[in-house]
Amino acid sequence: MLVKLMKYEFKATARMFLPMYLIILALALINRLFMELNGYSTSFRIFPENDMIQSILSILTGATMTIYILGLIAMFFISFIIFVYRFYKNLMCDEGYLMMTLPVKPSQHIWAKLHTSMIWSVATILVFILSLFILLLNGDGIQWMVQNLPFLFHNLIKGFFETELITQFHLVFFIIEFIVLLVVSNYSGIVFYYACLALGHRLSKKHKILYAIGAYLVISFVMQIVALILMMFAGIFLESIVLSPTALGHLIMIGSIILSAAEFVLFFFITHSTLSKHLNLE
């Protein structure tokens, strides 16, 4: 069931993501074209340097570059809006009549949307990197990579295995902690918005979005205070104990993971309880 739900999630959201990705990549391509006309990879310049028409070209190049950068920022922003909007529209508006009568548990609905959002997040980052490649990568760059990357990589691996076993252990652990934190905080970040929508839905019949925004502001504020208090306690606690930097680093990482996980559980619970017991579709 979860896989089926995710399949339809992708179908529904691809219509929004794929055009956006294509636009970004097209913008990168257009920018690259302008850059080449200005002699980026070769020394070919289509117009002589001091010609007035070159000034126009330079202005155009600058303008398209600005549009591309704005586009990148917009892409990340819009991706996020799509996740949140999709949850609201599909489960809490008219389509909710269709979705919530499926022989599916509410938790499966939430997980399907969370996993799909996660995958699109990764895709957005990949598109961002791809657009950079389109923009910047040329023969010189490739040559540099081919010449230097294997060497750098080899040195990195060699350096790793030359350190003490315990250092290797810590390094690997830090990398794992970092990835886990990234994933958990991504999930908890998204489910936080779901919970705000759920609370808005529950608290008001006519002003659901307004209450959702209110919930967002209140919860954000409370989370910040809680984080502050936790940091104060952590500071006091750490003053009375002597810790090596590595141990401290691990403590912070694991502490952050636990905090994110706790947030995730709380917001998942709020969302789930609203969908399963307090749903009131109009």
Partner: protein, 232 residues
């Protein structure tokens, strides 16, 4: 199991406003039941609770003896009053969607009905009129071979010819073991196909009896009796 639906002490209270306050209600298999009552009497609230998209404030509802949940949603086919289909899909997409999630969805039956209604499976839901969308929804609901059909105002916004077609579809497509609960105002049109009647008024169960009993006891049509009972 003879009783397809059992409601026990079910109520729904919206911040001190009781929308529904039932005692007990049982509905048997193989009956076409009319859920009748004035606007705001609680018909849709009851139907939503049976279909699982609204939770009772108290009491329990069970279908085939199983409490409302993911399992009973497979046994219930619900047609809401509003259109709930996602606009971006084509007709064949939503049919694939239904047959993907519901094991008891009969694709051939659905395509057959659509053909008779002259609805193309490649049409986008977005481009359809409200009436056509409602017909598509009805086709989807009636193509499921389930124990309980819940139809909320199925003939409300439709022209008289389509009304007849819908009533015929309802009768010819439900199996003997299934029950159909139809909530409507248009009692006159629907009276002829109803086996049982449930009257609701202001959230309270007023009457639950068979159509014949009511007609004999009061010597008039259900439509006339309704007007008498709920006179403004």
């Amino acid at each position: 199991m003879e009783n397809i639906l059992e409601c026990r002490g079910v109520s729904k209270i919206y911040t001190q406003f009781p929308a529904l306050n039932f005692t007990n209600l049982t509905v048997k298999r193989g009956r076409i039941v009319g859920l009748l009552g004035p606007n705001g009497s609680g018909k849709t609230t009851l139907i939503k609770m049976i279909s699982g998209i609204l939770t009772p404030s108290s009491g329990s509802i069970s279908i085939n003896g199983i409490p409302v949940g993911a399992q009973t949603k497979n046994m219930v086919s619900y047609l809401p009053e509003r259109t709930y289909l996602n606009d971006w899909m084509k007709v064949r997409d939503i049919i694939d969607f239904f047959s993907d999630f519901y094991t008891n969805f009969n694709k051939e039956k659905a395509y057959d009905m659509l053909k008779r209604l002259q609805i193309n499976d490649g049409d986008r839901l977005k481009t359809m009129s409200k009436g056509t969308k409602e017909k598509v929804q009805l086709v989807l609901v009636m193509s499921r071979e389930t124990d309980l059909y819940l139809l909320d105002e199925p003939i409300g916004g439709v022209d008289p010819a389509a009304r007849d077609y819908i009533l015929d579809t309802i009768i010819s497509n439900y199996s003997e073991n299934s029950t159909v609960i139809i909530s409507t105002h248009l009692i006159y049109d629907i009276e002829k196909i109803l086996d049982d009647i449930i009257f609701i008024n202001q959230g309270n169960l007023f009457l639950a009896a068979s159509t014949d009993e009511i007609r004999e006891q009061h010597g008039k049509s259900i439509d006339a009796y309704f007007r008498e009972v709920f006179r403004c």
